[in-house]
Amino acid sequence: MFSGFMVNAWIVASLAAVVGGAVGFFVVMRGASFVAHAIPNGSFAGAAGAALVGASTLAGLGVFSVGGALGIGLLGRRSRRDVATALTLVFMLGLGALFLSFSAENSEAAYSLLFGEVLGISSNEIGPTLVLSALGLLMLGLLWRPLLLDSVLPGRAPGRRTLAIELAFLLLVAITTTMTVPVVGTTLIFTLMIAPAASARALTARPGLALLLSAAIALMTVWGAIALSYTTNWPVGFFVGSLGACAYALSRVAHWSSGG
């Protein structure tokens, strides 16, 4: 289970889980689940486009998720954020449909983008994933206080500063998307960006601890899923999804039984 190509899977999946869980803390804090749905789903088009022109999947995901983040941030400045998010998403999905129609080997590639292909991760994805995790964690550390303040008491800073904080947050979601989609796919990204954070906040009232706990739960989810998938030969996506849901259910029970 820990030899050969599996080592790549463990490393990339663990990094994606830690960053996804940590960034997910702010996704839940800011009520930005829809954004965390739209950017990964829209970035699907980037991966399809990359396959078409022979570029790397990560590059395609990166370009489109950053583009989506900028679109949502800048359009959302003057209109409702959910509307800006929806329109950015449909525009990107439209491009994705176009790219897929040009592409010959679409169905298998599309499946791995939708549900991830953690066991098929190659060693040349480790480098970029390491760089992206370092970047994501560095940004999180730097932005910790302003992002937390803006998430609790939004709109208190002058307009330019508020926009800068929102764009930085969206960029974090884009970075997370780029490294997480190859592992769990676009449809299951919530299992790393929502479920661990939602579980963590039920377990502790301390913000810093909640973020660390969220990253830890995401890591457990991914490790458990890979191990179970390896032994049963069932898809990783099934285990990631159900373990995420279990973590959330258990945390609610713990929260409820502790009288909170």
């Binding site: 302003p146 039920a202 009232a205």
Partner: protein, 285 residues
């Protein structure tokens, strides 16, 4: 335009020394979407005083607060906040806050964010920092729920935490937008007493906006009365008078005193019905 004063500058009581001024507005006019919201508003606030910003909904109170906070530039006129760093000399407590009950943020976390929440990086935890937060929470009577999630607190309790959040950075001016609007009578009285005490003990200027002035009458040193975008400013007994307010509203109003309470009503010649020009429940822009 006066320059920075140290927060400990001595107060020359009653002498209205200009050195005590922490905020000065001179001829502030704001036009929004072709409408004049504020019209040539001038007044100043002094350290250690509690000022009521009184006006009906739509009179321009929130706009005025946004101008003072630097979130909105006036069309004409000048706002001068004393202090080396004006942006951080003003503490602000917003009108409404609906905090998620599951938010993983305790009262003490929110107050700590008031110290340096706009700084990059992670704050280094220290005993000194922790004690400073505890002292601040105790000072506003919020010590006993320091470790409770902020979203689980009542409106009055959340307000105390937000006051502590605003005060802990030692602002020279504390602005509160309708802090009494959603409080029951007892909580409102407690909040007003607390704010009056803060103004005097911490030697800062406190300005409270309200559409109803009676809760503030016993404690406020001065009133800024807004109507039709214009402002009258001074001690309550000099401003809340029929002649002054009639000029402000541009039509005749009467000031009726009933015991401790004051009612401002439309005078004869207008509707016979005694409407309260400054008493509506509708939402302010």
């Amino acid at each position: 335009m006066e320059l920075a004063q140290p927060p400990t500058a001595p107060l020359s009581d009653g002498g209205a020394a200009t050195t005590d001024r922490v905020l000065q507005l001179a001829g502030v006019t704001v036009d929004l979407g072709g409408r004049r919201i504020l019209d040539d508003v001038s007044f100043s606030l002094r350290a250690g005083e509690l000022t009521g910003l009184i006006g009906s909904n739509g009179a321009g109170k929130t706009t005025l607060l946004r101008v003072i906070l630097g979130l909105l530039a006036p069309t004409r006129g000048a706002v001068t906040v004393a202090g080396p760093d004006p942006r951080h000399s003003v503490g602000y407590v917003p009108q409404k806050f609906m905090l998620d009950p599951d938010l993983p943020v305790r009262a003490r976390d929110l107050v700590a964010l008031g110290i340096d929440g706009h700084h990059l990086g992670v704050a280094r935890p220290s005993r000194e920092r922790r004690e400073r937060v505890t002292r601040m929470l105790d000072a506003v009577g919020a010590g006993r729920f320091a470790d409770t999630r902020v979203g689980r607190l009542s409106g009055g309790e959340q307000q105390r935490v937000l006051i502590a959040h605003a005060l802990i950075s030692h602002p020279r001016l504390l602005l509160l937008d309708e802090p009494l609007a959603n409080l029951d009578l007892r909580s409102a009285r407690e909040a007003v007493d607390l704010l009056a005490r803060i103004a005097r003990e911490q030697r800062i200027a406190v300005m409270i906006s309200a559409h109803e002035m009676n809760a503030l009458l016993p404690v406020m040193d001065r009133v800024v009365y807004l109507a039709e975008g214009r402002a009258a400013c001074g001690p309550a007994d000099e401003v809340v008078r029929a002649d002054v307010l009639s000029r402000l509203y541009g039509h005749r109003v009467e000031v009726i005193r009933a015991g401790e309470r004051v009612l401002v009503v439309a005078g004869e010649g207008d509707d016979a019905e005694p409407s309260h020009p400054h008493h509506h429940d509708s939402e302010e822009r």
